[in-house]
């Protein structure tokens, strides 16, 4: 009886907490800035539009549409590095938006960059493609949902005497889904830390020294993986596996 009472108490607390999360949902200033930015963009004042979008970001608010519009503004303004960076950020939040995909592909093609995939085996590539279609939050919910289902089916098996064999079958299946999605989750977590976009055309050096020889060139908008950091240099890896050093201000994490 004690347990039931305490769990009920938790539920009530939970409901109270939920309302907190969406408190920042309706920030009126952010919406205003967004509309202003849109107007500036339509007038062709791309720099002003960019400034407005940046102000919203400085408030600590964002969403996929914001990054998308921001990317468009940088694109029109001419800063392809920043444009692609914003598109990548937008893809993290709305990975299935066709407009976004269209603009992203176009931007990459203008920079003569092929879509980059750091995975080299076929299976990993397929999983990556799937991972690219969903956001991290959606994945979290999916994982929770799978676990919930498993728990419910198990309890139903006990309480309502559901047929054991089929129940276990279903649970096993759900468990596999759970494992798979956990892997995808881990994948997304790893890449969100290490991936960055090159902001300006730069030379990647052999050593973290100014005068070092150039190993290869990086075009603005290229996606690279960060391996490690040493004072104000990053060791980065390109899709083809080549590694080199660049200054920290050349790239920005997605």
């Amino acid at each position: 009886m004690n347990i039931f009472k305490s769990s009920l108490l938790f539920l009530i607390l939970l409901l109270l907490c939920r309302s907190n999360i969406y408190a920042q949902n309706n920030s009126p200033e952010a919406s205003h800035l967004f509309s202003e930015a849109g107007l500036e963009y339509k007038k062709g004042n791309y720099e002003k539009a960019i400034k407005h979008y940046e102000s919203i970001l400085q408030k600590g608010l964002t969403n996929g549409t914001l990054y998308y519009n921001s990317g468009n503004s940088y694109f029109k303004y001419g800063d392809m590095g920043k444009a692609i960076l914003n598109y990548e950020r937008a893809l993290k939040l709305m990975p299935r938006d066709s407009d976004l995909h269209s603009n992203y592909s176009y931007a990459l093609s203008l920079q003569k960059i092929n879509e980059i995939n750091f995975n080299h085996t076929f299976i990993k590539r397929v999983i990556q493609k799937y991972a690219d279609q969903i956001t991290l939050d959606e994945l979290t919910i999916a994982l929770f949902f799978f676990i919930l289902l498993i728990g419910t089916i198990y309890l139903s098996m006990l309480f309502f005497r559901w047929p054991q064999k089929t129940s276990f079958f279903v649970i096993a299946g759900l468990f596999m889904l759970l494992c798979f999605h956990s892997y995808v989750f881990a994948l997304k977590m790893e890449e969100s830390n290490k991936l960055a976009i090159v902001l300006h055309d730069a030379d990647s050096k052999f050593e973290p020294v100014e005068k070092s020889a150039t190993h290869f060139k990086l075009k603005a908008g290229t996606k690279i993986k960060i391996i490690k950091k040493e004072s104000d240099w990053f060791k980065i890896e390109r899709m083809d596996g080549k590694a080199g050093w660049i200054k920290v201000d050349i790239i920005e994490r997605i």
Binding site: F10, L11, Q24, S31, N63, L66, N72, S73, Y106
Partner: protein, 586 residues
């Protein structure tokens, strides 16, 4: 014939290898200083000749035990004009004393005179080396038009000299464009009463401005071969001819190069503006004499099929000034950018057009206008129109986009742009706020987990209750005991002795039966004692229990009457025992 001055052992001499020399040859001057190595000898400038230092040579001789050394400085002297050339006296100072050579007179004659061919020389002054060559600039036509292709020629004349490394002439050409020189021609020509060798350079100019234009002067750089006078004596007599060959002489010093720069005079031309009278509207600047040809193929097509239009302009004139005509985009055709190229003085144009519908019955005519320099008038050549048969296309007459490799646009995809911004911002969320990190989500997960756990536990309990009878009974024991006790109490109050003790007995039996999973009806004190003994029970409890059992037996079976107090104490004891057991045994 050395001329010397000497004091003690030091002597300074000047000598030449010949006193008579032809124009176009060089002689060797040797300054020899004997008896000292410290002298610094310098040759002053010689009027009317070029001098260059060849090098020193030293000689050491021992004569009658006397050691003497001499240094000879050799110079090459090239006389520049005929007449008397005077090599001045040269001095050198050694240890404070000055030694001077005497001057030397050289007679320079013109090669022609030396050769004795009897050719008369000009009496207007002595002939100089330079007179042997001259440069001439010539334009046939004095009157030209802007942009006209005007031929000109530069001629290099030379006589009695050999030239080496002749370079292309250069000249000032403001307000005109110049073509590259063609391959030069060499021949002989008689000028005055002398025969000259001629090298001819031909090319074209294109005046870019009207008015009086000055061309030239032209400058040509070359080297005159100067023959060294006095053959080198060599010991290999028999091989004289071999070693005296020009090649060897050149290598071993039979000839030397004397660079000269030859200049011509100016040349003035008059450039006219193209006449305004009769200038057609479509004249685009072509000057010359041209032919114009046009072909179109195929002429029987379906709507949307490409037709290639080819134009050709060739002839004499300024091809750079030609602007090819092109068709105007109309409602009948879709035109692509024309491809123009020039090869070997002919200009080609290719353009693709696509008929938009069946009513395009002909390709319109094209005209090319130029200014004919010979006739001094404008001329227009028109070709076409070309009749066309356009059939309906197989599908619905859609307008097809034609992509031909020849007509590739600069951008890869026609007219691509990014998709427009979105107007609806939707709701904002915190940057880097992820669900898995949010407190609300964590709460939900924890609560769900707790609910699930409680559900599981609940089930486990009911399950246990269902399957584990002894457990179920053990749980039931106190409740039923309580019920039994309250019933007993009622009977106590009612003073129903027999019923009371029956109830008490049943209560105890049921209780211990439930508690220790025994058959309630057959519970005896000994059984209970046994069970309790395992648990190390207090002796008092056991004795109390025994007395209750005995009392119950007495009343029930022996029909002994016990008073109320006894009943009360029995009740109380039972209650205490049950409480005690409850507290200490679960």
């Amino acid at each position: 014939m050395p001329v010397s001055s000497s004091a003690q052992d030091i002597s300074f001499e000047a000598s030449v290898n010949t006193n008579k020399i032809a124009l176009g040859s060089s002689l060797q001057l040797t300054l020899t200083i004997t008896g000292t190595k410290d002298a610094h000898v310098e040759l002053p400038d010689i009027a009317g000749a070029d001098s260059s230092y060849i090098g020193p040579s030293t000689r050491v001789s021992v004569v009658n035990g006397k050691y003497s050394s001499s240094v000879a400085h050799n110079y090459s002297i090239i006389p520049l004009k005929e007449g008397n050339l005077k090599i001045p006296s040269i001095s050198v100072t050694v240890k404070g004393k000055t030694y001077t050579t005497n001057s030397i007179d050289i007679k320079v004659v013109d090669k022609g005179a030396l050769a004795g061919t009897g050719v008369k020389q000009n009496q207007s002054g002595s002939i100089s080396l330079k007179d042997k060559t001259f440069l001439q600039l010539e334009i046939q036509k004095k009157k030209n038009y802007i942009n006209e292709k005007v031929p000109f020629v530069i001629k290099l004349f030379f006589k009695d000299v050999s030239l080496k490394d002749v370079q292309f002439p250069t000249f000032e050409h403001t307000s005109m464009l110049v073509d590259k020189f063609q391959k030069p021609k060499q021949y002989q020509e008689i000028v005055g009463n002398s025969q000259y060798q001629v090298v001819e350079f031909k090319s074209f100019i294109y005046p870019t401005r009207a008015g009086k234009l000055i061309m030239g002067p032209a400058t040509l750089k070359t080297n005159i071969l100067i023959q060294r006078s006095g053959r080198r004596r060599n010991r290999f007599r028999g091989l004289d001819s071999f070693f005296n060959d020009d090649f060897f002489q050149g290598v071993f010093g039979g000839y030397q190069k004397h660079p000269v720069s030859i200049e011509s005079g100016n040349f003035e031309i008059e450039v006219l503006e193209l006449p305004r009278k009769g200038k057609p509207a479509d004249f685009s600047g072509a000057v010359g004499q041209f032919n114009f040809e046009v072909t179109a193929d195929p002429l029987n097509v379906k709507v949307g099929d490409p037709i290639t239009l080819k134009m050709k302009v060739h002839g004499r004139g300024n091809t750079a000034s030609i602007k090819m005509p092109s068709l105007e985009a109309g409602k009948d055709f879709k035109l692509y950018d024309p491809q123009i190229k020039e090869k070997g003085g002919v200009v080609f144009l290719e353009q693709v057009l696509i008929p938009k519908h069946e009513q395009a019955t002909e390709i319109p005519d094209v005209s090319f206008t130029y200014f004919d320099v010979e006739r001094e008038s404008y001329k227009t050549i028109t070709r076409g129109p070309f009749p066309l048969i356009v059939n309906k296309s197989d599908e619905e007459s859609k307008f097809l986009e034609f992509s031909d490799k020849k007509n590739k646009r600069a951008t890869e995809i026609l007219g691509r742009d990014i998709v427009f911004i979105k107007d609806n911002s939707g709701s904002f969320k915190a940057i880097n706020h992820y669900l898995y990190r949010s407190s609300g989500f964590i709460f939900t997960v924890s609560v769900s987990f707790l609910i699930w756990c409680s559900g599981l536990i609940a089930h486990k309990r009911t399950h246990k209750l269902k399957t584990d009878i002894s457990y179920a009974r053990r749980l039931r024991a106190p409740k039923e005991a309580k019920k039994g006790l309250s019933q007993s109490h009622k009977l106590l109050m009612q003073k129903k002795q027999k019923e009371f003790y029956n109830a008490i007995f049943k209560t105890i039996q049921d209780y211990f039966g439930n508690k220790f999973h025994l058959n309630s009806v057959s519970v005896t004190f000994d059984m209970v004692k046994e069970k309790l003994a395992e648990k190390n029970i207090h002796a008092a409890i056991l004795s109390d229990l025994k007395s209750i059992f005995d009392e119950c037996d007495m009343v029930r079976f022996a029909s002994i009457n016990l008073d109320e107090n006894k009943m009360k104490s029995a009740y109380k004891k039972t209650q205490e025992i049950i409480d005690f057991i409850e507290r200490h045994f679960k």
